[in-house]
Symmetry: C2
Subunit: 335 residues, 2 copies
């Protein structure tokens, strides 16, 4: 119920997902029952395994995440996440208040053993496929251990959900040399070097779109800035092309004709295709999408949630946290 | 002599600059005299106020900056910077080893009174003009005071060189709210709020290209990553358009025809237009360019150096450092 177009886009997206997924899974819509029923009526839902669990409250985009979660115990977010916790659902997805979804994931589902800081990852298009950037905005201050955990979670996601056999992990830095960057980043380098992950060393800002590695690790401050910068590129290009064409009929026609190509080429920069981003490090499957997500984005999000749930990702993360540091590394790196 | 195409591009760029600048200034070429003369012979230099100062050594791209500066006392970098220090030149420009140019600027020219950390700024194109990002990669670990100094230097540059009457200054952060971000960033917010600068509060990654403010302040880690990410966008788009057109004649023709428009629209993302980036906070005018700079980029750099020298930028920075914090702020903020 927390999305900008709830529950219209949620209902439409869920139905599309079920049709595409050939009813291989069920969808539980959590929120104000009457409203949801109203929206369901506008679609043909015959034969679809879809059900409703009522939740009267809504956490809005402006609510302070943790406080709202405590106060609104009957919010669609709290109720839905609890269903997942209780095993009545295998995954949870929301396009509501990001901070609140993150809090609910951590507080209700709990952390995976060995993980001190759950995180969110973002997908970047690259010349060679998709690059997973972890952390995409959760933890602005990170120590080496946190960056190491992000690397493990990102690598497992790439391996188990994206089916990369041996995903390369890069550490985002200001240069290739080992001794570059902040103290935390230099220490993370040392940890990663001693891990069993396919660590390729430092990567730079230009390597994200280049596809130098499948996973790129950074703190949430840098991740958030890069993510938002990247999302602003298509708009910028559109504006520049418009300025360039202004008052020139030939240019306007040409750009108009090529718009489809440009749009298609830029489609990879469109987050809607990826269907939300995963909360990593919690005991469950939790996905977050943009508040303004379209039905298509929500559809992709539901399908992605199914995929992640089926991958068994979390047990691989737990296992990797326990085994990925070589024995010459002290077991208790301060968290 | 330190650039990838030295001294060919340097010589060609200097000559172009003098012609464009109608000999309103002089150019001193510093480096291996015989080599430079050889290159000058390939151009028509009659009537141009151009001279050579010999310097036998070269600091290469792989040299460790500070050590190289000490060892190669007769490098073109050290000799040229000393000419500027001694008042025999009004500005210095180089496309050699960035770290070495930065070290030489700080060590030979010294810092402006009130500035604890010199920095480099980068220019970003925006929907509304140019956005100055400071720090673009010099100081990876920053305290609030450093960020505040970057803001003052950026604002003065925007005002005196770009002639913005009242440049807006934004603090790069992960959200608009005052309490977002790392401790250093939150403290910088408090300092900036009490300054006489036109501080508009926090800005986010998406605001860089949007043109929300003329100056954006961040630490050098974030600045470096964003700068390199931004520079990689045109290449990425080219690659995606190529993938999209592959094997389709109509698409290939269309994209080929529209290429000129796209290139023109992207021109603003091309650093060559800006002619190098300034070292800010040193007692002099020092500009750094990409090692692979074209003659055109070098030409623009020389013209930019003249412009900065004529602006009297540094005395405004010194004055602003002494007066831009309102009296309710303790005078000795720890540096």
């Amino acid at each position: 119920m927390g999305g900008d177009f709830a529950p219209a886009h949620e209902v439409a997206g869920a139905i599309e997902a079920l049709r595409l997924g050939k009813n291989r899974f069920e969808v539980i819509l959590v929120g104000k029952q009457a409203e949801i029923e109203e929206h369901l009526k506008r679609h043909d839902t015959s034969g679809l395994p879809i059900s409703i669990v009522n939740a009267d409250e809504v956490i809005t985009m402006d609510d302070p995440p943790t406080a709202a979660l405590k106060q609104k115990k009957n919010s669609s977010l709290a109720v839905g996440m609890q269903l997942h916790k209780d095993g009545k659902a295998d995954a949870f997805a929301s396009v509501g208040n990001t901070g609140a979804v993150l809090s609910a994931s951590t507080l209700i589902l709990g952390r995976i053993k060995g993980i001190s800081r759950p995180t969110i990852a973002a997908f970047f298009p690259s010349e060679k496929g998709v690059c997973l950037l972890v952390d995409a905005g959760t933890n602005v201050d990170c120590r080496a251990q946190h960056l190491y955990e992000f690397a493990v979670m990102g690598a497992m996601y790439s391996k188990k959900v994206f089916k990369h056999e041996n995903p390369r992990v890069g550490l985002l830095n200001v240069g290739e040399e080992k001794k570059k960057g902040t103290e935390a980043v230099q220490e993370a380098y040392a940890l990663l070097e001693r891990s069993t992950l396919n660590f390729i060393g430092n990567v730079e800002g230009r390597d994200i779109l280049k596809g130098t590695s499948e996973v790129i690790v950074c703190d949430g401050f840098v991740g958030n800035v890069i993510l938002k910068f990247g999302e602003s590129v298509p708009r910028f290009l559109k504006s520049k092309l418009k300025q360039y064409a202004a008052g020139n009929v030939f240019r306007t026609l040409l750009i108009g004709a090529a718009r489809g190509s440009l749009k298609a080429a830029l489609r990879d920069m469109d987050y809607e295709e990826f269907g939300g981003i995963p909360v990593l490090g919690v005991n469950g499957v939790s996905l977050i999408g943009h508040g303004s997500s379209s039905p298509k984005a929500l559809r992709n999000m539901v399908l992605k949630a199914v995929e992640v749930a089926e991958s068994g990702l979390n047990k691989y993360i737990e296992e990797a946290m326990a085994t990925s540091l070589r024995p010459d590394v002290p077991a208790n790196v301060p968290a």
